[in-house]
Symmetry: C2
Subunit: 220 residues, 2 copies
DNA sequence: TTATATTTTTAGTTTTGTCTAAATTTTATT
DNA sequence: AATAAAATTTAGACAAAACTAAAAATATAA
């Protein structure tokens, strides 16, 4: 099925919210999309008419399977374009989101298939988020937050959940990027901060707030 | 200034038409854009309000300098994206136009600057059309149609003005592409067809219709 | 130079996506 | 359970970009 840019944006936001909460409600979607609840209601009717949404008025709503597939198509495009922008055009990762928000609505499927091949079929975008394949299948990586990791296990940074410029700045300072190997040496109960050792660097201390947003997986 | 996708499409079409005819009229723009004269009139008012168009009602119209710059920005984006699609994603050149029609409206200037660098600052797109630089300057190439070339001069194919799939098919058959070197051996007055010799290939005959659409420049 | 044809514009509608303000339904609180 | 608060939807409006049909201006031709 074909969707307008606006429909695609709603679909994507509903998808992200329902991952968190199961059922989505009008006000939270309006807040997420920086629009008004009345506009959300209008769009919900259109999406229901297109048979991709379970929606009963006043009740809450969520995407059905067709809707989820539509959402994953957009997510896939978004993340492939982000990968392109960072890996090929050398953008900083905190600059690519708004550009990928536009590129994700380019309609050609052949474009995306060729782009994917050109990029070498990446599984994760520059923020470590998984890139769904053309069937909507999402690669899984057993990852956990740095903040609840046992001591002295070597791990690899696999994603960062806070993707702001401020966070990027911090991580640059600590020389932490996706793929960086490190271990936790010690945990300070006072404020939850961690002493960590990044491979080939001196030990350093990061706050609990940073640690919570850094996700890692064990090396095998 | 910022333009909507629709405005950009009108600006681009006006630009192309006024290159041919100087002043543009409502009906020809409507024909070019596959829309209705009334729709054109509506848009002309908007473009005049944005001060990029010389327009007096019932008189004809053309872009002023600001309008031409806006047009060249879009043309630049279009041709850089076409180059990307052909050179990086391996599309056939007759498939890229509709995709570039979408990509040309992505707004980020930084994206285009980085794309240009990534592509190696190309001067001509895959159809041989010149790519304006960021200031709107267009590279010129002294080119002429194969159909009015003197005999036995070695030339290089620099652009093809008919960019249909049918034309591509013909040129593929003759093993003629941009950059191909060839010379005209003989001209048949009966139907204007040419005997040509493509470098490293046997001589062959092409119709006047093909020859008229193939542009070349002299080697130095 | 009238009359006719062509071109262009206006007037009024439609669709998509948004909005505000008011009404309705649901949820929470006493 | 009645009332207040919150969430949601409806009603009506607007802007952008298109359309049709009719009117107006210009160009052409007898």
């Amino acid at each position: 099925m074909n969707f307008t840019t606006s429909e695609e944006n709603y679909i994507k936001s509903i998808y992200h919210l329902q991952q968190e909460t199961g059922l989505v409600n009008t006000n939270s979607l309006a807040a997420e999309m920086n629009t008004r609840p009345a506009s959300v209601t209008d769009m919900l009717k259109k999406l229901k008419a297109k048979k991709i949404l379970q929606y009963e008025r006043y009740k809450g709503f969520k995407l059905n399977d067709a809707g989820k597939k539509a959402a994953l198509d957009v997510v896939r495009k978004h993340r492939l374009w982000e990968y392109f922008l960072v890996e090929k055009l050398n953008f900083d990762w905190d600059k690519v989101h708004p550009i990928a928000e536009e590129l994700e609505h380019i309609s050609s499927n052949e474009l995306i298939q060729r782009l994917e091949i050109f990029l070498g079929n990446p599984s994760f975008d520059p923020h470590g988020d998984p890139i769904p394949d053309r069937n909507g299948k999402i690669p899984v990586l057993n990852q956990q937050s740095l903040s609840d990791l046992p001591l002295r296990k070597t791990v690899t940074v696999s994603s960062v959940s806070n993707q702001t410029a401020q966070m990027l700045e911090m991580l640059k300072h600590y020389k932490i990027a996706l793929g960086t190997q490190l271990m936790v040496l010690r945990k300070f109960d006072f404020d939850g901060s961690l002493e960590i050792k990044v491979l080939k660097q001196a030990a350093c201390i990061i706050s609990e707030q940073v640690a919570k947003n850094v996700f890692v997986h064990y090396d095998q």
